[in-house]
Amino acid sequence: MRVRVDGEERIAEEGQTVAAVLLAAGRDSWRTTRFGGRPRGLFCGIGVCFDCLVVVNGVPDVRACLRPVAEGDDIRSQDGAEVPS
């Protein structure tokens, strides 16, 4: 299936998580922290740390490690965190 990662088209596979798509695209971080602006990516891998937040189809604060990709997903890096929104 086709998805976009920060505007660039990528091929993803059924069953992949958004985090896997990002890592496969060579990305190791896709969010910056609220205070220090530090880069963050995958940490706990199972939805508890909230480090891996990413914007999917315009919706921020999606946990990349849990979210399966879907055809046409528009995945974008995120600044800070907006939860709860």
Partner: protein, 445 residues
Amino acid sequence: MRRVVVVGAGPAGTAAARAAASFGVEVVLIDAAPTPGGRHRWDARGAGARAELPDEVEHLPESAVWAIEPVPGGHRVHVRTGPVDGPERTGRAIEARALVLATGAHDRALPFPGWDLPGVCTAGAARAMARDQGIAVGERVIVAGTGPFLLSAAVSLVEAGARVTAIFEAGDPVPGFITRPGGALAGWTKAGELARYAATLARHDVPLCRRSAVIAAFGKDRVEAVLAARLDRDWRPVPHSLRRFEVDAVAVGFGFTPQLELAVAARCDLEDGFVAVNAAQATSVPGVFAAGDLTGVGGADLAAAEGAVAGAAAAKLLGARVRAPIGAMRRVRAGRRFAAALAEAYPLRPGWREWLREDTPVCRCEEVAYGAFRRAVEELDVGDARVLELATGAGLGLCQGRICGRSVAELAGLPETADAFARRPIAAPVRLGELAEDVPVDEGP
């Protein structure tokens, strides 16, 4: 409300659902993931049958339970169904006479300088990425922490094509603890599996260094190198033992933290940080059972055996005629002996505090540095987790202390550390709009 609701579809929850359904009661199995199998998919490759569910079990995939409340005669479980964290999820509340909690555990990570750099992740994350997604988190990876489950993370990494530079085991378990016939591991079916892991790692020349740890990671925007040290008995770095390794990823795990929020919301008693259960897996709250990593970590087999017992007990509570699950209870007893031996063989030692520096973030979400944290704790009389959060900011962030809670409670010297941060009003993230919504309540048969 003649129904069993099981939360969590890992080895424990699927076994519970299967057992309860086999006695003819209605079962709803809820899990946040799209497919059953749990976090670590133990049987995804081998006995695939385990993850398959009988038709009698109603499985609600992609469904996060975010709250539980008592209602007369049982509990009401609040669920959001749909793509993870998406605003298009639909809400629903389900009532049940019997509730089985099987929400599992996640790796505990200890803070150290650089642990917030991309490329540093938990052993569980590295393992899941490698095994479920076929992606190694790095090309040259160090696995560090304590416990035999580090070996399975390392094996998954090797199988996904990574070069594992070394495994640093902070503890000093008796040599051969894992493979010795007899002793603590006798009767534990997974012992053979761990012996196989050891063989795979030997074949790939992955050294296992005892009493050693990664005490710092360096890099600009990602990890580029780490500092490893020999540790003394208390896990303080031994002087002049530091070594530098160039790596692009570090996978760390220091035991486990159970996913307690639903159990705490249901007011279940805890013991040593895990949910306390009796021989029927019943918690202190009538109608609520718990199984798997939530009650103590001893591997997938123990989780499944506990699930089978919990499912039978839940069906019995509903009035079904139930044969005592003698085989499963025997496996639980053996598994618990193993789990206790594990916990004893791999204790955490306080010397990890000496790995911290002034600027090491102790709370990743709120970016609270150790120096500022310590000063706040010294200035204020911090008696419990709430005051600690407010005084230091640690634990106030998005993860609500799931990652840092226990460690900051220990650093602050709180009396109760294991579950200090478990009392969270909302167990899974929901958006404000979702909270306001009216949802249908399913009272069941």
